[in-house]
């Protein structure tokens, strides 16, 4: 522990001169808009700070934990000055982060947590459990506490969405005992198309008694929206999703979606880089930095604060 700290302070001395800091930012995937916004936030921080270079690289395959470990290790070999990482797995990435630290490279974690927080500088994220909880309350309130609801899970082993799923189910059970879960064990898979096929099959089976639907992330929400539209259920079923996108925002305006839980990806990227650079420059940083989560509804979607989160900046 101490050895790692002294190493990093050594580097800080070395880099307090006029050399550019090279910061590697490693998202979970590269294709979703969410990560584009994180990238934008990171670039914004770099620009504000000056003499900071962002190296953006995700694993080649989405959800490839081994691939993400490879990327971290590659950056360690590249001797970057610091790493900002959204770990695909809470335990699998720990050794890689430890290796980085042993090589004198500090890591800031964002979006999803790491089992061992002692090896990281800071954790910048949404409270995903709470995100799931506010989704449960939105659906519960809109259904007046009774009805049949489906939860479509995302993918096995994704920590952040599992938190949302847990937050949703526990809040439902606790606060809305009158609501019955029709299905809460199906996984959508990672692409919108897989989600759509899954959702269509679920609609086909439960369509006549379905009252509410919660989908836990963006591709998942896209797929469910498509399915509901095709089944003619859009608007009738109280549907809450997670994360925005142009179609989803449009659907929100059309009242086909009744709520979108919003995170602040730009802030995530921005805060992560800021925190890491502050640490590299020898400042003391907070161990946990929440970036907030908020419910956008057809009613509040034109509030300026929410409007900004519905269409966050993106890097290209």
């Amino acid at each position: 522990d101490r050895a790692g700290e002294s190493a990093s302070s050594l580097r800080t001395d070395a880099h307090s001169g006029n050399k550019t800091l090279r910061i590697a930012v490693i998202p979970k995937g590269t294709t979703h808009v969410f990560w584009k916004s994180v990238h934008a936030g990171a670039l914004k921080a770099a620009q504000e700070l000056g003499r900071v270079e962002i190296q953006w690289k995700g694993a080649l395959l989405e959800n490839d934990r081994e691939g993400q470990i490879n990327v971290v290790q590659d950056f360690v070999a590249q001797a970057v000055d610091g790493i900002v990482l959204a770990p695909l797995d809470s335990t699998a990435l720990v050794p890689a982060v430890v290796q980085a630290r042993e090589a004198g490279i500090p890591t800031v974690i964002f979006d999803s947590g790491l089992a061992d927080e002692s090896v990281t500088v800071s954790y910048v994220a949404t409270d995903n459990y709470n995100g799931g909880a506010i989704a449960a309350r939105e659906i519960g309130n809109r259904l007046d506490g009774k009805g049949n609801v489906i939860l479509l899970r995302y993918n096995v082993g994704s920590e952040s969405t599992e938190q949302r799923e847990r937050g949703f189910l526990e809040t439902m059970r606790k606060e809305f005992p009158g609501i019955k879960m029709l299905s809460d064990d199906q996984y959508s898979g990672t692409t919108p198309l897989e989600a759509q096929n899954k959702a269509l099959e679920l609609c086909n089976q439960f369509g006549d008694k379905l009252d509410g639907f919660f989908s836990v992330c963006e591709p998942n929400t896209m797929g469910v929206l498509g399915a509901l539209e095709q089944e003619g259920l859009a608007g009738k079923v109280k549907f809450v999703g997670f994360d925005p996108g142009p179609q989803l925002v449009q659907a929100l305006a059309d009242k086909k979606i009744h709520g979108l839980v919003l995170q602040d990806p730009v802030a995530m990227g921005y805060e992560s880089v800021k925190t890491l650079v502050a640490h590299l420059r020898g400042e003391k940083v907070q161990k946990r930095i929440p970036t907030g989560e908020i419910m956008a509804t057809p009613e509040n979607m034109n509030d300026p604060q929410i409007k900004k989160l519905l269409d966050p900046e993106q890097a290209n």
């Binding site: 590269t30 294709t31 979703h32 808009v33 990560w35 584009k36 395959l61 989405e62 064990d185 199906q186 996984y187 692409t191 919108p192 198309l193 759509q196 096929n197 899954k198 269509l200 099959e201 679920l202 086909n204 089976q205 896209m222 498509g226 095709q230 089944e231 003619g232 996108g245 142009p246 179609q247 449009q250 993106q314 290209n316």
Partner: protein, 340 residues
Amino acid sequence: MTSFDTPAALPLAQRGTQLLRTALGPFVALVLVVGVFAVADNLQEDGGHFATLKNAQNVFVHSATVAVAALGMTMIIISGGIDLSAGTTMALCAIVLAWFLREGYPPSVAVTAGLGTGCLAGFVNGTLISLLRVVPFIVTLGTMTIYLGLGKMISHSTMVRPLPAQIPAWMHELLSPRVQQEWMVFPPGVWLLLALAVTVSAMLRYTVFGRHVFAIGSNESTARLCGIHVPFTRIAVYTIAGFFVGVAGLYQFARLTIGDPTSGTGKELPVIAAVVIGGGSLSGGRGSIVGTLTGALIMQVISSGCTSLKQPNHIQEIIVGVIIVAAVTIDQIRQRRLAP
């Protein structure tokens, strides 16, 4: 010489068993699978959703994308080739289409560009295979990642999202399981698929080109020695197959309304599986369109059936696996039985 006793009668019977072997084999498997699931579904308490028109519409709609790409793959496999790039090409076509729509071009231009991209990708595959004389598996393994990279490049590594207003209504309806005109039963995309299937099937059976496709798959050096222009035929096969992959891209876009560069990754496997469950031989020279369509349907029926029976994903995966092996095994045994 017993089999030559009635030389006149034989060809007809022969052609009959030929049909039985290539097409009916997987068809029997399809009927079996549907039957088993229908019975099991009706036996469960809140069942009865499986053997419905609605579910049939779903099954056709869900399998249409794979099936249309598999039409081209059938030709490729008959010609003794394979196309591992079909999945990523499909995504690339969808992205190009989405990009043109988003930039405000009329849908006709966008669709043409999408299909053209498919043809071009196929043409490149065919040309590389013919010119470099490298086996199709390798060439398309390479272009698979190249087309994926190109897709990401065009889309800036993210989704290409045209505005809802930029997407014409017919595209929405192309593969919507809720059919506008009830008499149509299936959405237009399914009918288009069937029309294309009939065309390809006729082409393979009745044209000189089709015969040459079988010939180069059956024995390439013979085809060459008989004066068939093998590179030309091969390039044509891949280009036409690319066109069908382009149509699959259109189908995918019509369902998703976004262009997603990674949406095709891994999709080549169900496409190839459809052809092979349908009786196509990876060593070339054998395959049929009816079989391929049946193969695509079988896989979708299993998926839909497992959801009806509330089986978790892993049970579905195991069943799909078992049925793939079983279908081909049964087909094989029947072929050996029928062999004179």
